[in-house]
Symmetry: C2
Subunit: 154 residues, 2 copies
């Protein structure tokens, strides 16, 4: 049974997840599968790119963040998924051995006009490395059921 509903997320609420270390091996394995560009796969070739050395695909950082959010709260929430992403910014390279933490801030929370049994909670997610540098930000709405809403589906 979910523990967290729409009402449990209030504007300004902050939560933190991690740290989660990212290894050279997983950076390369992800790139081989989804983003086979030299700067994500090959240490030597990466030195001659704008990243100046091996760095994770931006998509890999997104996916690791998603896993941290899933483990951190989504599996305990009455989540109905997300309609999409409002914005992602890749600010700095994520390097092999970096330990990532995620900080989430509730930016807005509103009941759905068309389906009042649920609402949209929009989070700002900020990902930091262990040097305190912000490497990625994302703004993403999450659909959540309301607690004990009279017309909610069983």
């Amino acid at each position: 049974m979910p523990k967290l509903y729409f009402e449990d997320f209030r504007v300004g609420d902050v939560s933190e997840f991690g740290p989660r270390r990212i290894s050279r091996e997983e950076i390369i394995a992800f790139a081989v599968q989804f983003d086979p560009q030299p700067m994500h796969m090959d240490e030597e070739a990466a030195k001659h790119t704008m990243l100046g050395g091996l760095a994770a695909s931006g998509w890999h950082t997104c996916c690791i963040m998603m896993r941290m959010l899933t483990d951190g709260f989504l599996l305990d929430a009455a989540s109905m998924g997300s309609p999409g992403i409002d914005e992602v910014k890749w600010l700095r390279p994520v390097r092999p051995g970096d330990s990532l933490t995620v900080r989430g801030t509730v930016q807005s929370a509103r009941v759905s006009r068309s389906r009042p049994d649920r609402g949209f909670v929009t989070f700002l997610w900020e990902v930091f490395n262990d040097r305190g540098e912000r490497v990625m930000t994302m703004i993403c709405p999450q659909m959540m059921l309301r607690r004990n809403y009279a017309g909610a589906p069983a």
Copy 2:
């Protein structure tokens, strides 16, 4: 040597990539690693979610699209990466066995003000399944070097 530079992308240009089939096994493998929610991992549990059956993580669709773009043109382009994503919309579930195609349309192209050796090409990416349904859209700027720019780095 790259074949495609900033100048090769003009507003309104359209390109298509795929099809790329997505299997049940890879949907589940991706979810286990990055998005372990029941609707992406467990056929029976998925029937009782808002997706009405097993469907790929939206992040998986993003990553498969990224692979199609990498193979389709990025590895042939003077790409300097992307500063981020302007928008993603997940419109319909991606099901096991779906064959995905991607259509890209150049929405804008502008030279960088701070670094005139490069420019930003912004694409609208639309992902379709083999029933002609649009399952995802994404708007994403791509940084590209200009061809034969006098001050360009070697």
